[in-house]
Structure formats: C-alpha cells, structure tokens
Symmetry: C2
Subunit: 466 residues, 2 copies
C-alpha cells in the first residue's frame, strides 16, 4: 500500500530557491512529523558524473551531447528515487530537485512514477522580482563546488548564462493543459496557486511552503535570566528573577540594542521580540526598548497602504512556555527521584516520549512548537526569543539538523544568547555568554556535554549517499 | 491590540457556495480552535429590510433606488461587523458574506476597516463548472425564504436572472492590480490561488478551505459492537467482540451493503470505511464487503489517468482510537471512583479539560480529531466511521453545531448507526438501531439523556441577532 507516499517534483529556472525550499521542507517533515524523506538533487549527480565545473554552454539545449549527459544524470537520480520510495517500507516522501522546466520533462517524470502508483505533486518556483534572483545567486550559487576558486563576478555572469539556456525552453505549468495534475506554484514567496492537491500530509506541506521565504534571517534565542526557582533547583513554576537574573536582563537589553536592532552600518532594524507567557521570560525582556522604526515591508501581512512604521514588536506566546511537569511542577529533581522513583526512571529511559503525570512530554511540546516554526519561517525580520531550556532545545535541534531524539539533551546554558543563521545547506551558530563571571548554577539540572563548541555551524552539503 | 483579528470578506457571484464556505469555516474555527467568530450575511439584512421576496430586477445595477437600498443593507451589516470585531475583546474573526464583486466595492470594505487596523482577507469563490452552479441553486437557494412557496423551476429561473445582473458588473480579483491585498481564490474547489496571506490562523483557514467542497456528502457513524470490556463495564483496553457484538457486525455489513454502498437506484456507490486501530472496531468492520467499483473521479487526489476502479477503501486511523484513560485504562468507573476519588471528582467537574494521569483529555482527543475533520471534508464519497463513544461524540458535536463543552455528554448508543447529512445551514441526522431487541447494557456508563429524538436536524438558519 503506497497510497500515503508522495513524490514532490520541483520545477523552475535555476536560482529560484528550489533547493532551499526542498531542503527546508525535508527538514520540517522529518523533525516535526517523523516522516522519512529524502531529497534527490540532479545537480549533485551531474557534479558526480561530470565533475564540479562545467561551463554554461553545457546547459545549451541544442547541444546533443550535453543534453544526453544531463538526461543520464536525471535518469540516475530517478532510478535511485524510485528504489527509495518504492522499496523502502517506511519511506514517505521523496523530493526530485531538478529544473523540470518543459512539459515533456514533466510527462517523463509522471510516466516514471506511474507504475508505483505514488502521488506526484509538482512545486514550481517563480520569481517576478529580479532582485531576489540576484540575491539568491550570490547567497547560494557562488558557494557551490561549481564555482570554487572562481572570481565572484565572473561566476555570477556564468550562472546567468546558464539560466538563459534554460529560459529558451521554459514552459511554466499550464493552468489549462496541466489541470489534471497536482501542483503548486510559488511566485516571489507571496503568491501561491494550488491545483488539485488534497490530503493531510500534502496539506501540511502546502501550509509550510506558504510560510517559507528565501530571505536570510537570524534567530536569536536566550533562556530567561536566573529565576528564584533556578536558585532553589526547582523545576517549572512561575517565579520572578533573582538579582543575577535581573542583571542578565540588563545585559540582554544592551545586546539587543547594539547587535540585533542595528545593522552593520548602525542603522535601526525592525525586529521581533517573543517571550513565553511566564513571568521570568517577560521580566527578562523588560529592559529591551521598543523603538518605532520606519520600514516599508513590501510583503508583510498588513495591507501595504496601512503600514509605514513598525515597532520592535513584543509578543507573549503560551506555545513557548516551558515543558509542563504536571504533578512534579515546583519540585527539585532530587524530590522527584525520591517521591516518584518510577516516574524518574521512566523519564531517564525515554526523555523524548516521557509524559509527566498530568503534564507534558517533549513530544507534546514539539506539537505546540510546530506552529512557532511556521511563524519563525513566516516573518522576515530577525527575531529574539526569550524562552526556556526545553523549548529552546527543540527549536535549536530543528535548525541545527539534529535528530528529534537528541533534542532533549541539547545544552542551552543560562546567560547566553544563541544566534542561529539558517541557510540553504544548513545553519551556522554563534554563542555569546553575556555574564562570563556568573558561576553559581545550582538549578538542579545536570548539564549534558554541549554539542560542539562556542561557535559552530551545521552543514548538510554532502549529497546523500544512495 | 487587534493584530490577531481577521476579517474575511467573501467575493463572488451568487450560487458559488460563498455562504456554505463561510458557515462551515465559522463552525470549524469556533469548535476546534475556540475562536470567537461571526458571519455577517448581507442577504439576511436585505430580507430584514426589504422582506423575503424581491424580484431579480432588484439586483439590477442600473436601478438607482434598489442600488441605494442594497447599499443600505451592506452598510448596516458593516456597522454591526465593525462594532463586533472592533469592540468585543474576545472577537477574533468576522466573515463579511456578500458578493463584493466590484473593485470599488472591495475598496470600500478596506476603507471601512482601515481605521480598525484589522487584517482583511478576501475569499473569492468561482465556478468554471456550470453543473456545480445549478446544483448549488437547487440545493441551497430554493430553500431560502426568498423562494418560499414558489414553483421550483420558476425560482431557478429567477435566481439565474439575479446572477445575470451581477455578471454585468463582476470584476474578479486582479492578480496585478490587487496584488498588495491579501486574498484567496477558490475555483471549482480544486484550484486555489493564495496571495499575500501569512500567519498562523490565516494558514489554518486556508488549509481548511482547501479541503472543503460543496458536494453534499453523508457521514455514517457507529460505535463498535459490544466488546468483552463493555460487558465487564471496563473502559479502554483492546478486547474483542462478544457474540452480541459479532451479531451487530453482521447487521452492520447488511446495512452498509444496502444503505451506504448503493444509491437510491440500487447502483453501486464508492464509499470509505474507517475504523480506529483497535481490535473491536476492526472486528466490527469484518463482514463489510470491499467491492471494486468503476468510478471516474474528476477531482480526486490520484492523477486522473491512473484511476479507473476504486475499492470500498478501508483505513485504520489511530486518530480515531478511544480517549486513552492512562493509568485508569482497563478499570471500571466504580474502581476509578474507589481507587482515585480525586481523579473521579476532577473529571466530573470538567469533563472536557480533564486529563487522565498519563492519558488524554477530551481536548487532547479533539486535537487529534481535527485532521480527521479535514479528511472528512476533503473526500467526496460517503464515509462509514466505526469508532468509539468518545471520538464519535466529538465528530457528532462538531457537525450538529453543539458547543464544545457539550461534546463529552452526547449520547452515542451501541448498535446504532447515526447518519449525518451536513448542509449549508446545519446538519440533519437519522439514527438506525440495528438491534432493537438488544437490552443488556452493563457497560458501566451512565447514559446521559440523548440530545433530541431518533431523527432530528440541526438548523442555524436564523440570522445572528446583532
């Protein structure tokens, strides 16, 4: 029974953000929906078969030899994909990441997958805004192995010639002729047409893609300053900050003002400020100013004409509240171990799925954090999230490409701002300890060894090994 | 702070299904998302001001007097809507249900709402398929007070003349000129264009609308036959059927074959068969045949060319599993009362929110039933759901327009098929007791007084009292 399997087929000229969309979507499906998904990027097969650098002329659709070679790369990727989605029982989603810009090509894809009786959904990515294309070439394509060691301007020129070759034969998905296919068109990440796509998982995919954009965006996150409960080693509750915690709040305001709310030129930048609904995060945000900044958001959600000025918007989300420990709320880990030894052992055995009596599990929390990820993807501005250890672990693990099982063990120390910069091929990270002299940390949590060092980056550039 | 409020503005010619979509959406948002929502239907204001029957000429856009009168109706609806969404603190969504078919009209709506700084999303409903329009006129419009007591054919003619008046001035939302607005176009409930819509609640709205269709569809539901645990008065577990339960399974198969899988002419009809993942529902479905029926689904999710034959498709959903009672699973209510008196009292006090230790609450269960509602809305065929008391209560309460707080008290007796036929203005219900002589029912549940009689219908036709 393959009825629930889906093959997503990317369509579009180069530098439209297809790979970015494919990879981010794959990450989202596997982390939040525990869906097995793989991306088959034809470009990686080309690099494997033909070497890293091939000139733009290689993409000339009149040159028979290179057309044949490129066909061969597609065919190899297709064969691997068919094996994966058809034969691996738990495989749910495959993404065929290539240009597929002609109708003939798309018919070929359908014929290939017909015998497997798997749902095929085309995702066409288009840009009406030339600026976006240029940005995408510079941000992503220049880092490809294709252009290693080449002069950037020369590389941009080469890449634009490559695009021109594709433009000659490009046929956008036709609303009439291809009306019986299932497809989604994404124009400038702001207009979407969805044709004949139904079902639960496809619905989640469409919803996620409607929030996605390709503009680079930084995510800053920090736990609240030290709380009274931290000091007593108690978990949960809704206590206020200690003097140390308040000191951190002041340091954080300074950090936000100088590092987040200004760009490299010192110009004010609109940003978002999110806290949970608990006192200790709201108090940690108290000194961060909310200036009114003039902005012109072309693509924002408010009607264009209404919006001229924007504030550093502060928002409290119950979704960001700490994992609720139910009957254990307000206890120390020692007390839990003594009073509920069974619970304690159960939690040790499976920290991800363990649900506190009348409380939550990490999986429950992930469920309420999923909409937050949609929200982070949706906004264009940098965002500062003042949260709690548990929730930040999940957000961190999602962006840093960790398997969901590792999420409950991520180290998110107090007094530290973690800056995440997700990009097409992974995410880079920078940690700033704002109170290096702070030492007393009897908050009852045994700190696991941190993943990596102070500043690291996660990269899943390698083509999957098929 | 009104940032999270949304006004949805319907756009489209008469008989496109605007009101159906508006009402079903409102029901979904209030029941599953606890969002306060109201529909402002300008047609209802017209009927209030001008009486039930006005001839098609009333809708002539050249007749100054009737244009002025219709303006007055819109203005009154708009004023009420502004008061509701602007002043009622917990109001989240308002739906302005009118034709709004000209650009001038849509600008007026935006100007009206500008001062409130509320997000406005237009929802345009279009039909390329004339058949759908005809069906909609006959199914919905002939039941309007406008046509009470009139000859149906004459009424259809009148309604078509009314549509013609609107067609003269109709301007569909323009992809270029109106590109800065937020809008969604729905064509034949199969192609959707979404422009500039972002955010969590708008995303859920778009997803729900993408599953909705206007084809009438029946939902049959039944609890599993009597299980061994029922007989012992125990809750939960995964026991098999008693001999009585098996007898019900045979009766149900007969019912399905004669009443669900054949239309009024005795022709075979494709249908869906859903059970939970628990033994007692799967066993209850065991005698229902799965014939292969030739169908041509124009709008189904499988690629058109692949699909010729369809089976009465049986699917097992964990989403349909009974409310999980955690540590109380397998106990009788008496035992729970004796062993966990606090729990028992807490459950009595708030049955909707009460969560069993390491188990679920009704709210938890509603959360996993939400995707099932999307799924029911999505499919076009009749569906037979063999489930459990708790899950069926929620589905029933949703379709019958009950407040979520009443869901845990709905009566869903054993051995009974409940047929729900939702329509634009409510839902009608028909109950068939397949084992009228079955009496022993010591399943430990105190049966609450049932809502209404054996066969009833729920109707929310009345205009809201503003």
């Amino acid at each position: 029974m393959t009825g629930d399997k889906v093959v997503l087929v990317m369509v579009g000229l180069p530098a439209r953000g297809k790979t970015h969309i494919a990879r981010r979507l794959a990450r989202y499906l596997s982390f939040f929906h525990a869906v097995k998904v793989e991306v088959f990027n034809v470009g990686e097969y080309r690099r494997k078969f033909c070497g890293n650098f091939v000139p733009a002329e290689f993409f000339n659709h009149d040159d028979e030899r290179s057309v044949a070679l490129r066909r061969q790369c597609s065919a190899a990727a297709m064969e691997d994909m068919k094996r994966y989605i058809g034969e691996e029982g738990d495989a749910r989603v495959a993404i065929f990441d290539a240009t597929n810009t002609t109708r003939t090509r798309r018919s070929w894809v359908i014929r290939q997958l017909k015998e497997l009786r798997i749902k095929v959904i085309f995702i066409e990515v288009m840009c009406e805004d030339e600026k976006l294309i240029d940005e995408n070439i510079r941000a992503v394509k220049l880092n490809l192995p294709d252009y290693a060691g080449m002069d950037p301007e020369q590389a941009v020129e080469d890449f634009k010639r490559r695009i021109k070759q594709y433009e000659k034969v490009y046929e956008s998905i036709d609303v009439v002729v291809e009306r019986n296919l299932s497809w989604m068109k994404i124009v400038d990440c702001r207009r979407f047409t969805i044709n004949n796509i139904r079902g639960f998982l496809p619905g989640r995919i469409v919803q996620f893609l409607m929030n996605l954009h390709t503009t680079p965006q930084d995510i800053y996150m920090s736990r609240h300053g030290q709380s009274e409960y931290n000091l007593l080693g108690k978990i949960g509750g809704d206590s206020g900050l200690t003097p140390d915690g308040e000191e951190f709040a002041r340091q954080l305001a300074d950090f936000a003002e100088t590092k987040i709310m200004r760009n490299a030129d010192g110009q004010p930048v609109a940003a978002r400020l999110w806290t949970s609904s608990l006192k200790r995060t709201i108090d940690t945000a108290q000194f961060i100013p909310h200036p009114v900044i003039k902005v012109a958001w072309e693509n924002d959600d408010v009607q264009g004409e209404l919006q001229d000025w924007i504030q550093m918007r502060q928002k409290q989300w119950t979704n960001l509240d700490e994992l609720y420990a139910g009957v254990c709320d307000g206890m120390t880990y020692k007390e839990i171990e003594a009073d509920y030894p069974d619970e304690f052992a159960r939690r040790q055995a499976d920290k991800l799925a363990y649900r506190y009596p009348r409380g939550e599990s990490y999986l429950d929390m992930m469920h309420r954090l999923e909409p937050m990820i949609h929200e982070i993807e949706r906004i264009r501005e940098p965002v500062m999230i003042i949260g709690h250890q548990g929730v930040l672990r999940v957000i961190y693990a999602f962006y840093m490409g960790l398997p969901r099982e590792q999420a409950p063990y991520v180290s998110i120390p107090l007094n530290t701002v973690v800056k995440l910069s997700p990009h097409t091929y992974g995410c880079s990270e920078e940690r700033s300890n704002l109170m290096p002299n702070f030492s007393s940390r009897p908050d009852g949590q045994k700190e696991p060894p941190p993943f990596g060092s102070q500043s690291q980056s996660f990269d899943f550039m390698e083509p999957p090994s098929h």
